[in-house]
Amino acid sequence: MRKVAVIGVGCIKVGEHWKKSLRDLCFEAFKNALNDAGIESQMIDGLYIGNMSSGYYQRQEHLGSLVADSLGLIGVPAVKIESACSSAGFTFKEAVQAVASGMHEIVAAIGVEKMTEVKTPDATSALVMAADHDYEAEFGVTFVGLNALIKRRYMHDYNVKDEDIAYFSVHCHKYGANNPHAQYPFPIKLETVMKSPIVADPIRLFECAGIGDGAAVAILCPLEKARELIDEDRIVEVAGVGAATDTIRLADHDSLTSFKATILATKRAVSSAKITLKDIDLVEVHDAFSITGIISLEDMGFYKPGQAAKAAVEGELEKDGKLPTNMSGGLKSRGHPVGATGIYQIIEVTQQLRGEFGKNQVEDAQIGAAQNIGGVGGSVTVTILRRFR
């Protein structure tokens, strides 16, 4: 297997892009990534497109052909990868495999989701397709509802206060405020979170990632080739990729307050990177809800069960804290265009390792990790990136 490097990243600001189609979003993000890498589009010989619900939102499938066509890459093999909210994490993994195996040379991993074509109840119907249709969605639960079941049980089992969990949103917004591609780039107060309407008890509106449009692109090539193509200071190596699945139904998980797929994916990523958890300088976790961010930090092994909420409140997740977490603003503040999110995380970790993350730059960041969850932990990817120089 060849070593793989990220040589270019690009995205668009997450938001409500009423005048832009799914094709437009991909095109812009792709152009930004090409400029970042300083390469020509015709050098790309493989294309992977992460997306969850284009069939529902746009009545459009066959994104492989559509996106290749839109980017001027007619003839290049391209395919859509779907794994609910971890579509982009799995897309990145496929792209890494394609380069590592020698099948492709320069590959673009694209994540895209355009959610604002429909009204909120329709988006709610699309999102709950990540759950078991016949035995979860058809019983009236929503995706927020499934996560509310987790939060309720977590508070019960570990005696953690509601507002300590909700604080995770405050933490994310503090950093998202400085992220130029964040959907909601402003700080919020804990009081605002606690007073926001209950969506599915005990989860409030300001504990949920919003609905938005986004596209994000990472360009990969063999590490050896990267040294010819770009400045060595800007090379970021894909140190390890881990992925795992769990039962699709939440009630079938071994535990309601822990995602086994995160535990497995982290172990696999860490072992393939030949590092230990302590070597990780910063992490992007999948905080689709405040509770999800918290249990992710526990499942990855950074905190013991029941401890991560307190760690956030006590400042351990700050830029100069023990484990800088979600310096992008996370899903809550940067946004969560579902099938694109995993690549946004890759972009943010890459920029950190290059030292290009502006106000939220973690000093001397060498190794960063990104965790992307599909459904309620039915699938998870963990990617570890390392600065090359």
Binding site: P121, T124, E136, E138, F139, V141, H156
Partner: protein
Amino acid sequence: MSWAPQYWRELPYRYRLIGSKCMDCGRKYYPPRKVCKCGSENLKLEPIARKGKVYSYTVIYYPSKEFQGQEPIMVAIVETEDGARFLTQLTDCTPDQLKIGMPVEAVFRRYRTQGDKGLVMYGIKFRPVLERD
């Protein structure tokens, strides 16, 4: 769009709370599975206990399109007396009565209507165990 066959083929399980039991490790599942978590394929269809306790619950105020108008919807994960754990709706109570550990029992109820022709979808919900004389 409607999906009558997809609903119809699940009727025995939806109407009669039939799940499966692993004959090797004893785990019980609802809905039934073909392969147990222990790896065994030696599972038998079996009715699930109709009494249990609330393991976790939520109240949904913003439902999906299909359940518009039914909010607030009370949803729980219940653990039945035979050890099965699954998601269901709660009924015959109000959100303020819900508690982890509350005893509940299965009842047959209407869920929603589906498609252009208004196919009525029924199934099992759980309600608080009634105090009887």
